[in-house]
């Protein structure tokens, strides 16, 4: 440990650590482009200048190891003048096309210019021009003119994905980021360079021109694309006279799960939340009122006491599973979570992606729900009513003789086939309800995102409370009443989960 003084305040920090790391952890604003906690220091942008007592000139905070007794100044006229000069240099050939730049609003250049810049341009010679809207592949668009050459993207492909697609080409003023000829960006994590880029040089083709970022509202969620359960930010906005739309997913830092990154498949899975959400309840192929369809489900379940099979998805949250278990006990029904397509051998890799595509299958044994084929087949034989919850793959039943059985689907997305169904009841989709998920390493995370849409679709927990006939409508109700009594969750505190995901032994 070392004691340093920053702007007159004494801080206790780690000796030998990088100065910028400790300053940023202590919420001290240090402008920087090239430093990123996942990529380390590079020392090329010179933006993070601080004054250190005893040193003749200002030093960069990102490449200065901490020594005991350092006295540091990050503010003041002197250091602002240095920062302004460096910013002026960074901006010399910048096209200043903020009106058409997608980064505007979350651009570090803009922010720093408003903080310490605000100068008149002194450039008398023409600006050096680069290529604009270059398609690098993998949904990444490059604007060479806006680039400040911090090389975060280059270091990402070099150190993190180890694919080395990007590099800095040419010299001096003409230096540009580009790919090698005939070798576009194509690694499955490539879109992370868009988040890494502190300016508008790398933008996402998928998000390009769809929304100005200052309109977006951000919620915290968990990705449900695979068993990793990466932490996400969900950026959404409700335009006037329109329904809520999700515009993008961004990685949310979580050192226990995904670090600073997510895979492109997970990032683009937001489209599914927008497209298949709006559909109506159907009873025997006819559109129905929501309340009537709800009542129909209750009647169906009541009529088939002892003869019901709940086929649940392993993507349901822990709370929902616990409640379905309670529902099944109440109506003497069977539950199966058998999913033949749960594993995809081609999806996983050694970084974040997992072959197991189920976001919460680890919770099944903890709650006491079986997912093997035998239980599923046996359950179907005995059942008169088969209710699919959180999934719509009723095609599974075609190997069984189910002509006399009633089939119901309770799902958040429009099913591809809805013929031969007794009931189709929509519920809110993944980002429409909160819930707890357990990832492949046993990390328990709480997904808070519950975006409410114009539709009348209920959350599954509300629906289950109606079926069971009690008032456990929210996740915290279910935790306090049931989950906290399950052995492996006894140690966990529900209130702390959103901020701090915790590991349990599976």
């Amino acid at each position: 440990m070392a004691n340093i003084t920053v702007d007159g305040k004494t801080l206790e920090v780690k000796e030998g650590a990088l100065l910028i790391e400790e300053l940023l952890t202590n919420n001290i604003n240090i402008p920087h482009f090239c430093y990123h906690p996942a990529l380390g220091k590079d020392g090329n942008c010179r933006m993070c200048m601080v004054e250190i007592e005893g040193q003749k000139r200002p030093q960069i905070a990102c490449d200065t190891p901490i020594k005991n007794g350092m006295i540091i100044r990050t503010k003041g006229a002197n250091i602002d003048r240095v920062k302004r000069s460096i910013l002026e240099l960074e901006l010399i050939n910048h096209p200043i096309d903020c009106p058409i730049c997608d980064q505007a609003g979350e651009c570090q250049l803009q922010n720093y210019y408003m903080d310490v810049g605000l100068y008149e341009s002194r450039l008398s010679t023409p600006k050096v021009h680069g290529q604009k809207h270059v398609d690098l592949g993998a949904n990444v668009v490059l604007d060479q003119e806006r680039c400040v050459l911090c090389t975060r993207c280059v270091r990402f492909t070099k150190n993190i994905t180890k694919t080395d697609e990007l590099g800095v080409f040419a010299r001096a003023d003409h230096s540009v980021i580009s790919t090698f000829p005939g070798q576009p960006l194509k690694d499955p994590y490539a879109m992370n360079v868009v988040d890494l880029c502190p300016v508008g040089a790398l933008t996402s083709k998928d998000f390009r021109f769809h929304k100005r970022v200052w309109f977006l509202q951000t919620e915290e969620a968990i990705c449900n694309r695979c068993a990793r359960g990466c932490s996400l930010y969900v950026d959404h906005h409700k335009e006037k006279y329109k329904d809520e739309m999700i515009y993008r997913y961004r990685p949310r830092f979580n050192d226990k799960v995904n670090g600073y990154f997510i895979c492109d498949t997970g990032r683009l899975s937001y489209t599914y939340e927008n497209e298949n959400r709006n559909f109506h309840p159907m009873i025997r192929g006819k559109e129905s009122e929501y309340e009537y369809a709800e009542g129909k489900l209750l009647r169906l379940v009541k009529r088939n006491i002892g003869k019901t099979l709940f086929v649940i998805s392993s993507d349901l949250s822990l709370e929902e599973m616990v409640r379905i278990k309670a529902l099944a006990t109440m109506y003497d029904a069977q539950i199966s979570a058998y999913e033949p397509n749960r594993f995809d051998e081609h999806f996983g890799d050694d970084f974040l992606k997992c072959n197991d595509l189920s976001s919460n299958a680890r919770a099944l044994p903890l709650v006491g729900i079986e997912d093997h084929y035998e239980g599923f087949a046996l359950g179907i034989d005995k059942a008169e009513l088969i209710v699919f919850i959180g999934r719509s793959d009723s095609g599974l039943l075609k190997d069984f003789s189910c002509t006399t059985k009633s089939i119901a689907i309770v799902y958040g997305y429009q099913p591809e086939v809805n013929e031969g169904l007794e009931l189709l009841l929509p519920i809110t989709s993944h980002t429409g309800r909160a819930g707890t998920f357990i990832n492949c390493d046993g990390i328990v995370q709480f997904s808070q995102c519950a975006i409410s849409h114009n539709s009348e679709h209920k959350k599954l927990l509300e629906l289950l409370a109606m079926l069971i006939g009690d008032t456990l409508f929210t996740c915290s109700d279910v935790w306090n009443e049931i989950v906290c009594k399950i052995e492996c969750f006894k140690e966990l505190k529900f209130d702390e989960l959103p901020k701090n995901s915790q590991k349990i032994c599976l």
Binding site: C98, P99, I100, A104, F209, R212, W214, F215
Partner: protein, 166 residues
Amino acid sequence: MGLKIVKREGKSFKDRIYLPAILSGMMITLGHFLRNLRDTSNIKTMNYPEEQPQDITARYRGVHRLTKREDESVRCVACFMCATACPAECIFIEAEERNDGVDEKMPKVFTIDLLECVFCGACVEACPCDAIRMDTGIFTFVAQKREDFLLTKDKLLSFEAKKEDA
């Protein structure tokens, strides 16, 4: 505490029969009528709409228009600054990629709902490209249906700046 005694008016016989007051009022009206009959140019009202107002200045905030570049293409780059600044939230924009080499971005949809607009001019102030102005001099906009008050991009581009009368 001093008291002020206010004299009550209208108690006299002349006041109570009303007629002298009414007659004097009608004399004033008759005077104005005869004066206006002799010199019609002095009348403060106008025969709108046959007669149009002549005092619409260049700074008057009329119906909006979208300006054009030298090559007659739309100047707007769909940066959404106007929609952001708009207090009535009456500007609806959808952006799209522009591939003609002039610029990168342009509006696919640019609609102003005149029924919601409060004609404050914040959009004009906010525009970084001088792409929206309110200098058409159109002070009244008439339509039969609510939908017709939605000014689309084409309509906004078709308006011209008001010509200054020499």
